[in-house]
Symmetry: C2
Subunit: 225 residues, 2 copies
């Protein structure tokens, strides 16, 4: 765990799922802009692009937010994001090999735990169903269903002071997200997107594809070399 004195006073609190990529970083800055004191959850789940965790930590620090790294030992493999023996596919169609089973359900369930424990009013997640890899747990219908489950399955939900699950980027293109992040002052140079997690972005995986496309369409220069 690491944290900073965020001096949140009596501000309303939010839990923000922070991966270190463009979307979650923009979501964090958007939550801050909306007046929330943000508590970031960063997951170390054995992803091969482990360096995104360092990016996430630096972004949380830059935003003067508390954060916690949660280590999940997913010893069963079966995703190109977890297993170095499985090749990270190039950008293509269908649900790709980089899909991690139930990932966002797991992340959201922890976010709910933290939100109820600290009395936060909202959970923010940077899920996006436009320029994305086709993961089922990034789509609006999943969030509609999960909100109901969270409302029925938690004390705060039953007591009608439920935690809002916010997906502010769900219907935005990558270019729109980048323009928004640019206006909010998101430190893009600190973000990391590439699934391969090498010294430099591979420029071939899905995540690099959408990042490059987004910056190009937004007519903004990507500061990440």
């Amino acid at each position: 765990m690491g944290n900073r004195n965020a001096g949140n006073g009596n501000k309303k609190q939010a839990v923000v799922l922070l991966s270190g990529g463009l979307d979650s970083s923009t979501t964090l800055y958007l939550a801050k802009k909306s007046g929330f004191s943000c508590f970031c959850l960063i997951f170390d789940y054995g992803q091969r692009h482990h360096r995104e965790i360092e990016s996430a930590k630096r972004i949380a620090e830059t935003a003067h937010c508390h954060y916690r790294v949660i280590k999940l030992n997913f010893l069963h493999k079966g995703s190109a994001l977890l297993d170095r023996n499985v090749e990270v596919p190039k950008h293509g169609s269908g649900i790709p090999q980089t899909y991690v089973p139930a990932r966002n359900i797991i992340f959201l369930s922890f976010a709910l735990f933290y939100a109820e424990t600290i009395g936060a009013k909202a959970v923010f997640i940077g899920a996006n169903a436009i320029d994305y890899s086709g993961y089922p747990d990034c789509r609006p219908q999943f969030y509609r269903a999960f909100r109901k489950a969270a409302a029925c399955g938690t004390k705060s939900g039953v007591e009608k002071r439920g935690i809002k699950i916010e997906t502010p980027l769900i219907d935005k293109s990558k270019a729109e997200i980048i323009k928004l992040g640019d206006r909010l002052g998101v430190p893009f140079s600190l973000t990391w997107s590439c699934y391969r997690g090498g010294a430099h972005p591979c420029k071939r995986c899905d995540s690099c594809y959408y990042r490059r496309k987004g910056f190009k369409e937004a007519k903004i220069k990507d500061p990440l070399k």
Copy 2:
């Protein structure tokens, strides 16, 4: 992790959430009886009745099932089950202090991960909404909502080969569960229920209350001293 050679051959697989109590143990034996080869998930989440974990391991071994203990470091406290500074309440009404925020959502999300990873057809959970402590995540409406979220948020769900989330005990009284377990040969002497987790059951907490009531109504002697 620990496991046994279960010799499952080509049997259909299920993930079973096993706490070591009466309900989850009966659920395990019911899943086995239904023809599933069972993979048990046992959670070490800092519960004060830590000895239920040892019970769960012994029950999985007795049932000749694979199991895995998942350690979750819930460092934020705020529940009488996690924090020894909070008194475990006696049996009463309302959602008690032993409520752990989002617990079953977290457990189910891991169960989904394992089920998708190993190709299991079902997840079994011994949730019960009759003789229970009023936890929101034990009620049928939560499971109805969670099933939708799981179907929308996973690859198997989207591809219409979704994982069934089974709650076979949801509407049974504790006495009915005990009679069922008795018929199935559940080793009740190995189970643990007491929230206080001392050398002997405290006989005052919610969990002891329902256990005693159940055995009495079932007219079966509790073999646990």
